[in-house]
């Protein structure tokens, strides 16, 4: 736990942009709620197809006004529009698609991520909900997607570590995270540990280490985030 003064880093929209830049053309992606949702703004017009686990491919922008159709929502219950080449299918099909490895990039939020690539994103101890909570589709997505990225604030609103040696919250999945994108840094999860790759403007490696529980490996080509 830490009580250091909070470092600002980059805003949530910029975290989303940094993740968007990591996703190559020709990818199928699934975006979780929170910061990941903002990524859709940055990939609009690019050759990237968004899947919604409710059972839809080629998900477009949020629907507004006349576009809104009560029969066309995403997994967060927001109305969306379809893009050309869209398809609709059942949840059973959708979750089979997720488990089967057809999603190239899944970007999720998290309460905690460990240096082993574990993460916790569905339940908070002390919520009073115990082992019963809103699991949703994240466990399936986490075990199935080819690349699982976390996009989140580096620390909690109380300044507590979110990047830990071991998660203390109930896990979503074990050993699945490839990269962590925060307001302060881009961190790779590797067999040797967490590798600090990029820093937000004005942030030092020491700043990041101070708000990260595990010892970070400093990349030989550590650089400032490019956006």
């Amino acid at each position: 736990m830490t009580t250091k003064p909070k470092l600002e880093g980059i805003p949530r929209e910029m975290i989303a942009l940094r993740v968007a830049n990591e996703i190559p053309e020709g990818s199928y992606v699934n975006l979780g709620i929170g910061i990941p949702t903002l990524i859709s703004n940055w990939i609009e017009g690019r050759d990237i197809i968004i899947e919604a686990e409710i059972g839809m491919l080629n998900v477009g922008a949020f629907a507004e006004g006349e576009q809104i159709d009560q029969d066309c929502i995403n997994a967060s219950c927001q109305p969306v529009v379809e893009l050309p080449g869209a398809s609709y299918f059942s949840d059973c099909e959708s979750l089979s698609m997720l488990r089967g490895g057809f999603i190239d990039y899944a970007v999720l939020g998290a309460f905690q991520v460990s240096e082993k690539g574990d993460f916790a994103g569905w339940n908070i101890p002390g919520s009073g909900r115990g082992d019963t909570g809103n699991i949703g589709g994240s466990m399936d997505l986490a075990v199935g997607a080819k690349n699982v990225f976390i996009a989140m604030d580096h620390v909690t609103t109380d300044g507590e570590f979110k990047i830990l040696k071991n998660c203390s919250y109930p896990l979503t999945a074990k050993g699945v995270i490839k990269k962590i994108f925060t307001n302060l840094a881009v961190i790779d999860v590797t067999d040797k540990g967490l590798v600090l790759r990029e820093l937000a403007p004005g942030i030092s490696a020491e700043d990041v280490q101070a708000v990260t529980e595990p010892k970070l490996i400093i990349s030989a080509d550590l650089k400032e985030m490019e956006m």
Partner: protein, 232 residues
């Protein structure tokens, strides 16, 4: 083989106490709200309900909860999104009046799919190393760990359809498809409420989402007026 019932009340009239019922729908989308309301009027008790969420978006489920018709829920997303809001179901759960099983989304619907497909169980990688795995068998297959999950078949399924014919063939609209097809297939008696009821031959046989063999009852309903959102 005309499966048309005159109204939702007659379509649910014979459901006995103690039944298990799967409800299609994903939050506000594609939920069988008219059948759910009819079941609240009908009053069957000690129900096991199978539904993605228990009264979040599919608010009509709360009629059953508030009537104390439900004793057990099998679900994926039981509670309000915010931990500070407590749904009627969460209140009853905390009071020990109902019980609840939660599964990851894929496991939740795959259990029903397996049931309808006559399979006994399956091994899934989802949930390994999490609380979901508590008390469950695991197996290494080609070096990867999987959880054993069992098939499940409810007695009834309540299905909301865009179009159905009198033989029970169904076409869903867009994301209102969601859990509906596999829930219908898993149930011993699938009951379809349809916004449009057609004669056999009026739908493209190549574009049927749910073949009529899976459907026992069809009832015409209005297109519901839905306010999209789950924070309400």
């Amino acid at each position: 083989m005309n499966k048309l019932f005159p109204n939702v009340d007659e379509a649910v009239a014979d459901i006995p106490d103690g039944s298990s019922i799967a409800f299609g729908g994903f939050f506000t989308c594609g939920s069988p709200i008219f059948l759910t309301e009819a079941l609240a009027r009908q009053g069957a008790k000690n129900l096991t309900i199978v539904s993605q969420t228990i009264g979040v978006g599919n608010w009509e489920i709360n009629l059953l909860i508030n009537n104390h018709q439900v004793k057990h829920a099998i679900c994926n997303y039981p509670f309000a999104r915010s931990v500070s809001k407590m749904s009627p179901f969460e209140k009853q759960l905390k009071a020990g009046e109902v019980s609840c099983e939660v599964y990851p989304m894929g496991t939740f619907i795959e259990k029903l799919r397996a049931g309808g497909a006559g399979l006994g169980a399956f091994y899934t990688p989802t949930g390994v190393g999490t609380v979901v795995a508590k008390g469950k068998e695991t197996r290494l297959i080609n070096g990867k760990e999987y959880l054993l999950e069992y098939a499940y078949r409810p007695d009834y399924a309540f299905i909301h359809a865009w179009k159905a014919d009198t033989l029970g063939n169904v076409i869903f609209n867009k994301t209102a498809q969601n859990y509906n097809p596999e829930m219908a297939k898993s149930a011993r008696i699938a009951i379809v409420e349809a916004e449009n009821v057609l004669e056999p031959g009026q739908m493209d046989p190549n574009a049927i989402h749910l073949p009529g063999i899976y459907v026992k009852r069809v009832v015409k309903v209005d297109r519901p007026k839905i306010k999209i959102g789950i924070d309400g």
